[in-house]
């Protein structure tokens, strides 16, 4: 690209950039400017075919790709341990929780004004818990009944006779 005569685009002070951005600029600069006699491959894209200038074998391309990913993974790990990242994570979590509290308060206030139940979920949850407890207790009672029937029949010597009321009730159920 032609530059105006006498201008120096690099004279202007570049604003300080964060390490994450610096890494990506470095990566793309290397990818776009191959070393002499070499064409770096982008992840997932096949290398240049054999016989042409700048050929890289698939094995070499895979190793370069693996090295790229390893470097990126290390950088990501370092960044996610940095105070800057942790502070931004804290800020976003605080904002999300604040939004949640505001939504809850808004919904409560508006539902109350329409005389609707404040939280239909609460009733459903309580009923759900009651029903689960009920079915658990019924299961335990059924097992106890079975054991009692066995004990009774063992005590009466396994005499054949009319079925006990409990057995009849179970059959009806």
């Amino acid at each position: 690209m032609n530059q105006p005569h006498g201008s120096n685009p690099h004279a202007q002070q570049q604003p300080p950039i964060d390490p994450f951005t610096a890494f990506w600029r470095d990566v793309w600069a290397k990818a776009g400017s191959p070393a002499p006699g070499q064409q770096p491959g982008f992840p997932g894209i096949p290398a240049m075919p054999q016989g042409f200038p700048g050929f890289i074998s698939p094995e070499v391309a895979r190793r370069m790709q693996a090295a790229f990913f390893d470097a990126l993974a290390q950088y990501a790990d370092q960044y996610m341990r940095s105070p800057e990242f942790l502070e931004s994570m804290k800020k976003s979590m605080d904002q999300a929780l604040q939004l949640r509290r505001q939504m809850d308060d808004f919904l409560k206030a508006n539902l109350a004004s329409t005389m609707a139940p404040i939280s239909t979920g609460a009733n459903a949850e309580i009923l759900d818990a009651i029903r689960r407890t009920e079915s658990m207790l019924k299961q335990e009672l059924a097992e106890l009944r079975t054991r009692l029937d066995r004990l009774e029949s063992a005590r009466s010597g396994n005499r054949a006779g009319p079925a006990s009321p409990a057995k009849k009730a179970r059959k009806r159920a």
Binding site: I45, P49, A73, M80, L86, M89, K90, D128
Partner: protein, 387 residues
């Protein structure tokens, strides 16, 4: 285009780029490269039917089982194996509360459950289920002294055995150790898989993220009864973002012709994306008392009205760790040796990741035969009547 004087031809500054010897040198490599990209795309299209078929076939677990106890949302599962039962002491698998447990029974050739079934054990697994908001008030005490204890007593009733063998994975290993310290008389052997016991600050990425200066666990738990699965799932993904967001897919693109790879890939994908919520109080207990205050290491972890003292554990312990574990670094698991009072303690480390401990080829080839043999040597055999 006619030869000769061409004063009537319009000027084409790009003519030389597409014709002549220089054009071949300039565009030849690019044309070949574009050709390869097109071939790769054709390969991708041709593999799609295989990919779709493999995706549809993925299932949650592969070994037949029955539910022998239900305490909603928790279920106790008993597996049905083909091998004859050789040991009277049953095995109970205890998984973490943040994922589904069928990773232990992912595929027929990658099933830890089947390993123990084939070795002759009666195998159970406690499936913590999917908690609802009404479970939000449950604490770790409810899980350990409630559900886990009820599952153990149910197994003892069913089998007539006086003790069980506990196998705990990750957080399930920590819970299993807590339970064993409280009920050592009911546990014959304890196997720990990548179970954390020491949360010294800065060891892992998770310990950095749960630093109390940056993570207010009380505010999060007060805001909702259940910690959403999306929060937990995305946290796990971000522990290894490059591997999970980029490398996984480049490997998929390269190997999608391989049916066996596709079968394993989609089985794992199904499990990885099958996250469940966790009760807020359980989350609060674990993050505050383990990650932030490291109380378990110091013998001061409160569970109900008691404090957990892992020194009460005297049974044989087998501690399995994975050298490339990004979730529970082996240094978090090794301290259990000093904390328990067991005289029979063995540690095995395998070259694998956190999940690779249960689904990795190397683990199934090298680790699980050793682990099942270790347990077989220490379990009560079934007595075959003479004659």
């Amino acid at each position: 285009m006619s030869q000769g004087a061409s004063t009537s031809q319009p000027f084409n500054p790009f003519a030389g780029m597409f014709h002549g010897p220089d054009a071949q040198t300039m565009w030849g490599p690019w044309a070949a490269w574009i050709n390869e990209v097109q071939q790769a795309q054709a390969r991708f299209s041709a593999a799609m039917p295989k990919v779709m078929a493999a995706a549809r076939k993925a299932t949650k677990g592969c070994t037949p089982h029955e539910v022998v106890m239900t305490e909603a949302p928790v279920r106790l599962i008993r597996y049905q194996g083909k091998a004859d039962r050789r040991f009277a002491t049953p095995v109970l698998f205890v998984f973490a509360l943040v994922n589904r447990p069928y990773v232990l029974d992912l595929l027929p050739h990658k099933s830890v459950v089947r390993r123990f079934l084939d070795a002759g054990f009666d195998v159970y697994l406690i499936d913590w289920g999917v908690p609802t908001p009404s479970d939000g008030g449950k604490t770790l005490h409810d899980y350990v002294e409630g559900h886990l204890h009820n599952a153990v007593t149910r197994i003892l009733d069913l089998t007539g055995s006086p003790q069980v063998n506990l196998v705990g994975y990750c957080m399930g290993g920590t819970l299993s150790a807590m339970y064993t310290s409280l009920h050592q008389d009911l546990v014959r052997n304890l196997i720990l898989m990548a179970a954390p016991f020491d949360w010294t600050p800065g060891q892992t990425l998770l310990s950095c993220w749960t630093d109390p200066r940056y993570f207010n666990v009380d505010a999060l738990c007060d805001a909702m009864p259940l910690i959403p699965p999306a929060l937990l799932g995305s946290s796990f993904v971000m522990l290894k973002p490059v591997a999970n967001l980029f490398q996984k897919w480049t490997t998929f693109f390269e190997r999608m012709d391989d049916e066996k790879f596709l079968e394993e890939f989609f089985a794992m994908e199904l499990w990885t994306n099958d996250n469940i919520p966790i009760c807020a109080e359980v989350y609060r207990d674990f993050v505050k008392y383990c990650f932030q205050q490291n109380l378990l290491r110091r013998g001061e972890f409160p569970l109900g009205r008691r404090k957990i003292n892992l020194g009460n554990i005297t049974c044989p312990v087998l501690n399995l760790t994975a050298s490339a574990d990004h979730l529970v670094d082996p240094v978090q698991s090794h301290p259990v040796r000093e904390l328990v009072s067991s005289t029979d303690f063995e540690a095995i480390q395998v070259q694998a990741g956190h999940i690779g401990l249960s689904v990795g080829s190397k683990a199934h080839k090298e680790l699980w035969p050793r682990a099942t043999a270790w347990l077989a040597d220490r379990s009560e055999p079934i007595e075959v009547p003479a004659g």
